[in-house]
Symmetry: C2
Subunit: 342 residues, 2 copies
């Protein structure tokens, strides 16, 4: 039985081997902290469950600090200020910050960003109006540079980044082809989002043949969230001056294979560009992205889909599901009173 001033926390129990499993995680009871001068206490309302955390669990610090075994996981979170000794934040303010996977966290406010539930629903600051949206927006517009009439292929099109990128490309007047797995996702992308074509990589047989059929004029922009065999198939179809936006490589996080590696020579003949990026590259333009994306959401021109799981204790399974292709839309955990947070 927890004390009234205690809460639960999700820790890394061990570094995953291959796909993450429940035993890689551990629930622990910890004290609810009290803010000192300059600090505030944030009650987390939504946790973002991100595939990128997989690399941090592996101790792979290629683009983020890694997690330590025995320490709490941290993730992008939206919460509410419940007590504050920081003059910039008042009780009742809503904030976005990377926080431990627990109910109540201290913050000195330096990395906290106020978010406005009137501008966009709170949960969307972790999705379409948050980092996934920024990835789609900057990756597509700054690297992909789509032009009306061009063909844009988006892998992982049913994910938060992919769905946003695909719709932004639609708004630019492109022919947009999504790649996703499973008839439910394919139907949604085709019938609800209205993509020009959707390739079901689980049923396609030869991926290159399927993509070729979906892209009769070749591929001008390949927005890649997945990597692996889908990338190989897309590369075979790129047009001259194609742009390959390397946003994520979900298929490679658990098992780095050679299947998605690119022969640089391939880029020569097509004068093609392949560029990686992290959303931090555009940190000084986040407000621009929020303004644009939230406006499109309010206008109903940019749809999003969330998969919300309730309860901190269910966060590990929600993370594992990301790699099973079960998640559809932005994977979030909603924290409520009673689920170990009093």
């Amino acid at each position: 039985m927890m004390q009234a001033d205690q809460q639960q926390q999700v820790r890394l129990a061990r570094r995953p081997q291959g796909k993450p499993q429940l035993r890689d995680f551990q629930l622990a009871d910890v004290d609810v902290p009290s803010p000192a001068g300059g600090e505030m206490l944030i009650q987390t309302l939504y946790l973002s469950v991100d595939p990128g955390m997989r690399g941090m669990m592996a101790g792979d610090t290629s683009y983020s600090a890694g997690f330590e075994v025995g320490q709490p996981l941290t993730g992008r979170s939206v919460g509410r200020v419940v007590s504050s000794k920081n003059p910039r934040f008042a009780v009742g303010d809503y904030v976005y910050e990377r926080l431990p996977w627990q109910h109540y966290s201290l913050s000195d406010g330096r990395r906290a960003k106020k978010v406005d539930p009137v501008v966009a629903p709170l949960s969307t600051y972790l999705g379409v109006v948050g980092v996934p949206g920024f990835c789609a927006y900057f990756g597509l517009m700054e690297i992909g540079k789509p032009r009306a009439g061009q063909t844009v292929v988006v892998s992982g099109a049913s994910g938060a980044v992919g769905m946003t990128a695909a719709q932004l490309a639609q708004l630019e007047g492109c022919r947009v082809v999504g790649v996703a797995g499973g008839s439910k996702k394919v139907r949604y992308l085709r019938d609800e989002i209205g993509l020009d074509a959707v390739v079901d990589y689980k049923r396609a047989g030869d991926l290159t043949d399927a993509l070729r059929e979906a892209c009769p004029d070749g591929i001008d922009v390949y927005f890649d969230n997945v990597g692996g065999p889908i990338t190989q198939a897309a590369l075979a179809l790129i047009n001259r001056h194609a742009r390959i936006v390397v946003c994520g490589q979900t298929s490679q996080y658990n098992n780095l294979s050679d299947s998605g590696k690119v022969a640089p020579e391939w880029l020569i003949g097509r004068s093609a560009l392949m560029q990686g990026f992290v959303v931090y590259d555009y940190a000084d333009r986040n407000d621009e992205a929020i303004a644009r994306l939230s406006q499109l959401v309010r206008q109903g021109r940019l749809r999003y889909r969330e998969n919300i799981v309730d309860g901190l204790q269910n966060a590990p399974q929600a993370f594992i599901d990301l790699f099973e292709g079960k998640s559809f839309g932005k994977q979030l955990v909603r924290l409520t009173k009673g689920d170990g947070g009093n």
Copy 2:
């Protein structure tokens, strides 16, 4: 014994398997043609011997039309107009054009470009003031975008493209590190060209260690002419926002291995760009490149090195030598009267 109106021609005898061999080539006697209305007859003075021809021999049409077995090879050439029924070209004009590997060729002039031996020596229109120079100039400046103080690594640094790219980077105020094979080339690049460091890939042992020592501040621009293991070593050292200029992949032409393949994920964490190009992308800016490069040559600020072989019959061996690492500087064949050209 050839007739007075006959000449020799180098043909593709069979498609090379692996490294090209002499038996892949064939010398044949053909008639010297006569220009019809609108045509001119060009006497070839210099043939360019290019590694890129390897792909065309393989029937690999990834970025050029391929050669046909039994047909003459063609290559970039500089020659002199010896008779003309084309009003735009007069006898005595010097021209640059892709021509068959033979002494006398017809041209309708549409793809011929006049070159001026006063602006630059005729042979340099096939090297430092020609396509190799253009590759170096546009690849480095437009994709590599070097800034003073940054570290630029050039593979194949003793080749025509590499040596030019390395010197252009020096002129931008960069720390320039060359990668080349053999002490003669290394000494030249270090002592004559004055590169900041040169890695001898044949003696380096661990290439990454050797490059790391040569690049204490990491790599900002990797100008790649070679591919393969050198690319792998360079990738390990790229800095944030690095630019990888994929100019050539000499090491891969004969035997496409996985050794130089790039995991797209690697580019994400470094927000790095990898871009292929062909010189044709900048065709409308050739005059700019000629003006800049020839000026630097005249000022003595851009050095070049040529390896000139005499005699059409020696062109096949000159080509084979490219893949043996024997060639040092731009490989050219000089055609003279008497060597099958009357």
